[in-house]
Amino acid sequence: MQPNIKQSLDIVSLVSIGQHPQSGRVRRAEQDGRAVELGMNLGGDNLTVLHAGDPQEQALRTYAGMGLSSMQVLNLDTQDDAVPALADYLQQLRPDIVLTGVRAESGESSGMVPYLLAEKLNWPVVARIADIVSVEDGVAEVMLALPRGQRRALKVALPFVASVDNAAPEARQSAYGPGIRAQIEPLAAVKEEDAVRSNWSEAKAKPRPKRLKVVKAKTAAERFKAATAKPQGEAGKVLKGVPAKEQAQEIFNLLLEEKVI
C-alpha cells in the first residue's frame, strides 16, 4: 500500500549491524532493514541512512544493496556510546521522522536508543510501529503493531522518533551491485565512552532452564509421587467411529479451552 504523503519529508533511518541467530554472522538487521524499507517508501530521495560505528563494516553494504546511493556513518569505536553522537547529528539535521529498529541484534540490545534520542531531542517516541499510513499537515497517522497481528492507529505530530516492529513490511532484497557501489561517507562524531558497559562481563548465553511443574508436596508420600510419577501420557486422543457431531464437539471444546475462539 502506498502511503498517503502530502508533504516533503526528511527521514533518517538508523541502522545497526545485525547478527544471524543461527550462525552469529554479521548481517542486515531484520528490523533496521524494515526501518530503511519504510523510509524508502515514505521519503524516496530524502532518506538518510545513518549508522554509528565502523564505516568499514561490510554488513553496511547489505543496507546499501537495497538501492541506496549513499550512507552516512558516524565514525565510532566499539567502546563508544552511540547515543550522544546520534543525538548531536540529528540535532543539526532536524529531520521530520527518525526510524529505528526495536532492538539491536548485537551488543546490549536494550532498545533504548529511540527513547534516549527522543528524550534528548524532546520529541515524541512511538514504539513498535507497523506502518506509517499518511502524513498530512505535519501530522502522521501511524499503525502500531500489537501482539498476534493486532493493530492500533495513532496520530502524532512531526517530528518524532519511531521504532519499527517486525510486523512492518519486509525489507526489500539487498542486491550485490548497488551495495558495493554505494558511497559510504564517514563523518566525525562526538565520542563518549560507554563507561557503564566497561563494568560488565559478557558470556555466551546459557540456555534458560524451563520451568518445571513444581509440586509443593507437604508429605513424603507426595514428594515421592511427584518425583517418580510418569508424566501425563503424550499420546493424543483419537476419535474413531464416533459420529461427526461428537467429534466436532470435542474439537470445539479444545478450541474453547485453548481460548482461540
Partner: protein, 641 residues
C-alpha cells in the same frame, strides 16, 4: 540479349546487397562485449564442426537431416558454381553440368522441405519460414533453366521475351531470399550467422564430442572491485558471440518440444526467448514472430533494442525465472545455441543489480550468505546427521582416500536416508572415507543459478580454501548439483585444491566398487524399476551409464522411459525453480511422474536428492522413489563376523 546480362547483374546486385547486409549484421553483433576467440582457427574448424557436431544433432531427425544435407549442400555448391558460370561467365560444360547436378540436388531437397511444410508440427515457426521452400524451389528451378543453355542442352536464346521476363522475376525472387535475405534478417540468416556461430562459439570445447556445461563466472574484480554492471541488462551486455549465437537460430522448435517449463505451461519458450534476443539485438518488436508464444502471453507486445533493458518490455522476468536450467534445450539445439547461459546472465542482472529474485529467492539467498545453507540452519549442525555414523572428520584425520561431499542434504531428513545408505555401502566396501563435517559449505549451486554469482564465488573460494588443507584423491558426492559445481565450475577460481583430484558422483564410484567386487549384493526382487536421469548428472556431466550398470548388477532390467538419457525430462527441481516458483498449468514433477507411470514401474531409481524430493512431492498413489544408494544398501549382504 537481356538474358545474357540480366542474371549476372541480378547476381551482382544481390551479392553486393548481401555484403552490405553482412557488414550491418556484423556491426550489430559487435555491439556486444568482447570475448576472446581465435577467429582464424575458428573459421578453419568451421566446416568440420558443421559436418560433424551440428550434423550429429540434426541426425536425430533422419528426415530433416537428409533433407537439409540435400538442400544445404546443393545450395552451397550451386552458389559457388553460379558465381563462376553466371557472374564471371566461365564457359565450361563440365562446370555447367556440375552446377546442374547441384541445383537438381537442391531442388529435390527443397521438394522435401516443401512436403514438410505442408503440415508442419506446432514446434516450428510459420510466417516467413513458410515461403522458404517456395523460394528454394524458385531459386533452384530458375537457375536450372538458366543453366540449361550453358550446359548445351537447350540452344541459346530459347523461350524468347516472355520466358526471359518470367525467369528474371523468379531469379530475382530466389536471389532476394537466398542472398539478400541471408544477411538482412530473412529465414536464410541461419546459414550465414550459423556458420559464423559455429566458428566463434563461446564454448569451443563443445565441438568434437566435448562437454562444456559450467557457467562462466562474473568478473567481480573489474573496475577496482566495483563493476559497472553485473549480469546482462541490455542486449549489448551479452558477449558478441552470444549475440551471434542468437542470430543462428533456425526456429526449428526442438528446444520448445523438450522444455519442461513450456510443457508445464509456465511462461517460457526457449525458441521465443532466443527470437526475443534477436529482436533485442536488432531493435524492433516481436510482431513478426510466427511460432508458439510463451504460454499465457500474447505475441506482439515485446519491444526492445540493443540499448534497452531487456526485462523492461522485451522479456518478462517470469520467463527467465521459469527455467530449471535442465539444459534439455541446449542439448537439443542443432545450432548449439546456449540458452541457459543467456538466461542465467539475465538472472544475474535481476538478482545482483535489481534485487528482484522472486518469491522465496531473496530469503534463500540471504540464508546462503548468512549461514552457508539455503534454509538458514545453524552451520554448526551440519554434521549432526552423522552423529551415529562413526565417520572420521577431515579436521582430525587430515588425509583420506575418499572425501565424501555431503552437501545440503545433511539438513534434510529425507536426504539423510540417502546419505546413511551411502555411508553403509562405503563401510561395507572398507573404503577409507572422511567428511568435512561442519567445515563444508553449500556448493553455491542454488545461489549461482539464481543469479547471485557473488555469493557463489564467495562459497566456492571458501570451500576451495578448506579443501586445500586436506589430502585426498577422490571426492564423491551424492548430490549431482554439488558434483557439477565441484567438477566443472570450481576450476575458475585459481585454486590447486582440486588438482589431480577425481570428482565423482556416488553412482560412478559405487559402480566401480561393484565392478571390482567390493560389495556383496543380493539380486533385487521387487517389481518393475525405471531410472530417472538427473539433469546435472546426465546432460551436465554425461554420466548415463554408471547408474544403469549398477541397477543391472542387481539383476534389474530397467523399464526405460521414453524420455531418458540425454533426453530425460527434468524433475522441476533445478535452477532454483522450486524457490522462484513461477506458476504454470501443471507441475513439472507431476509430468515426470506420468512418464514414470507409462512404464508401469513400481519403483523409480534416482541419483539425486533434489529429484527424490521433487518426485516424492507428487501426490500418492505413485511409484516409490528411491536413490540408487538406498536400493543398493537394501540389497547389501552384510558380513557377519
Amino acid at each position: 540479349m537481356v538474358l545474357d546480362w540480366l542474371p549476372s547483374v541480378l547476381i551482382a546486385v544481390a551479392l553486393s546487397l548481401a555484403v552490405i547486409g553482412a557488414v550491418r549484421r556484423v556491426s550489430l553483433w559487435r555491439a556486444g562485449q568482447p570475448d576472446k576467440v581465435d577467429l582464424i582457427a575458428g573459421l578453419m574448424a568451421m566446416p568440420k564442426r558443421y559436418l560433424h557436431d551440428l550434423h550429429d544433432v540434426v541426425e536425430r531427425d533422419k528426415y530433416m537431416s537428409k533433407t537439409h544435407a540435400a538442400t544445404g549442400g546443393g545450395f552451397v555448391l550451386s552458389v559457388v558454381l553460379i558465381l563462376a558460370v553466371h557472374l564471371f561467365g566461365v564457359d565450361n560444360q563440365i562446370l555447367a553440368w556440375a552446377l546442374l547436378a547441384a541445383l537438381v540436388l537442391m531442388f529435390v531437397g527443397a521438394l522435401f522441405v516443401f512436403k514438410r511444410r505442408m503440415d508442419p508440427p506446432s514446434r516450428i515457426s510459420k510466417g516467413p519460414w513458410m515461403r522458404l521452400p517456395k523460394s528454394l524451389l524458385a531459386f533452384s528451378s530458375a537457375f536450372i533453366i538458366l543453366t540449361l543453355p550453358v550446359a548445351g542442352i537447350l540452344p541459346e536464346g530459347t523461350g524468347g521475351w516472355v520466358l526471359t521476363i518470367i525467369l528474371s522475376v523468379v531469379i530475382a525472387m530466389g536471389l532476394a531470399e537466398m542472398m539478400f535475405g541471408m544477411t538482412w534478417g530473412g529465414p536464410m540468416k541461419h546459414a550465414f550467422a550459423g556458420a559464423l556461430h559455429l566458428a566463434f562459439h563461446r564454448r569451443q570445447e563443445r565441438f568434437g564430442g566435448g562437454r562444456s556445461t559450467g557457467l562462466k563466472p562474473v568478473d567481480l574484480t573489474a573496475n577496482d572491485g566495483k563493476p559497472e554492471i553485473l549480469g546482462v541488462s541490455k542486449p549489448k551486455d551479452f558477449k558478441w558471440n552470444q549475440l551471434l549465437g542468437f542470430d543462428a537460430c533456425v526456429q526449428c522448435g526442438r528446444c520448445e518440444a523438450m522444455c519442461p517449463a513450456f510443457a508445464a505451461g509456465q511462461p517460457l519458450n526457449p525458441k521465443k526467448l532466443i527470437q526475443d534476443m534477436v529482436v533485442g539485438l536488432a531493435g524492433g518488436t516481436d510482431a513478426k514472430y510466427a511460432g508458439s508464444p510463451y504460454p499465457g502471453k500474447e505475441v506482439g507486445y515485446a519491444k526492445g533494442g540493443p540499448d534497452q533493458i531487456i526485462t523492461q518490455g522485451l522479456v518478462d522476468p517470469e520467463t527467465l525465472w521459469s527455467c530449471t536450467t535442465c539444459r534439455a534445450c541446449v542439448e537439443e539445439c542443432p545450432m548449439m545455441i546456449e540458452h541457459v547461459d543467456a538466461i542465467v546472465d539475465m538472472r544475474r542482472f535481476l538478482t545482483m543489480e535489481k534485487g528482484s529474485t522472486p518469491n522465496k529467492g531473496a530469503e534463500v539467498l540471504d540464508n546462503i550468505i548468512a549461514t552457508d545453507n539455503p534454509n538458514g540452519y545453524a552451520p554448526a549442525n551440519r554434521a549432526n546427521w552423522a552423529a551415529d555414523q562413526n565417520l572420521p572428520l577431515m579436521r582430525d584425520v587430515k588425509k583420506a582416500d575418499v572425501l565424501f561431499w555431503v552437501s545440503d542434504g545433511a539438513f534434510d531428513m529425507r536426504s539423510q536416508r540417502i546419505l546413511r545408505s551411502f555411508v553403509k555401502l562405503m563401510k561395507a566396501a572398507h573404503v577409507d572415507v572422511a567428511i568435512l563435517g561442519d567445515e563444508e559449505l553449500d556448493s553455491g549451486d542454488v545461489a549461482r543459478r539464481l543469479g547471485d554469482d557473488a555469493a557463489f564465488q564467495s562459497l566456492a573460494k571458501r570451500n576451495l580454501e578448506i579443501l586445500s588443507q586436506y589430502e585426498f584423491k577422490t571426492i564423491v558426492t551424492t548430490d549431482p548439483h554439488a558434483y557439477h559445481c565441484l567438477r566443472n565450475e570450481y576450476g575458475d577460481f585459481g585454486s590447486d585444491a582440486l588438482d589431480g583430484v577425481e570428482v565423482l558422483h556416488h553412482t560412478t564410484y559405487l559402480n566401480r566398487l561393484v565392478q571390482a567386487g567390493s560389495l556383496n549384493l543380493e539380486p533385487f526382487k521387487g517389481g518393475t524399476v525405471t531410472y530417472h536421469d538427473p539433469c546435472y548428472l546426465g546432460r551436465y556431466n554425461g554420466e548415463y551409464e554408471a547408474p544403469r550398470e549398477l541397477l543391472r548388477s542387481l539383476g534389474i532390467e530397467i523399464a526405460e522411459m521414453e524420455r531418458s538419457g540425454f533426453r530425460s525430462r527434468c524433475c522441476g527441481g533445478g535452477g532454483g525453480a522450486p524457490i522462484t516458483d513461477i506458476p504454470g498449468e501443471r507441475r513439472i514433477a507431476d509430468m515426470r511422474m506420468e512418464d514414470v507411470n507409462t512404464t508401469g514401474a513400481e519403483l523409480v531409481a534416482v541419483g539425486c536428492q533434489q529429484c527424490t524430493a521433487m518426485l516424492e512431492g507428487v501426490v500418492e498413489p505413485r511409484p516409490e522413489v528411491k536413490d540408487i544408494a538406498e536400493i543398493l544398501a537394501d540389497q547389501l549382504i552384510e558380513e557377519v563376523h
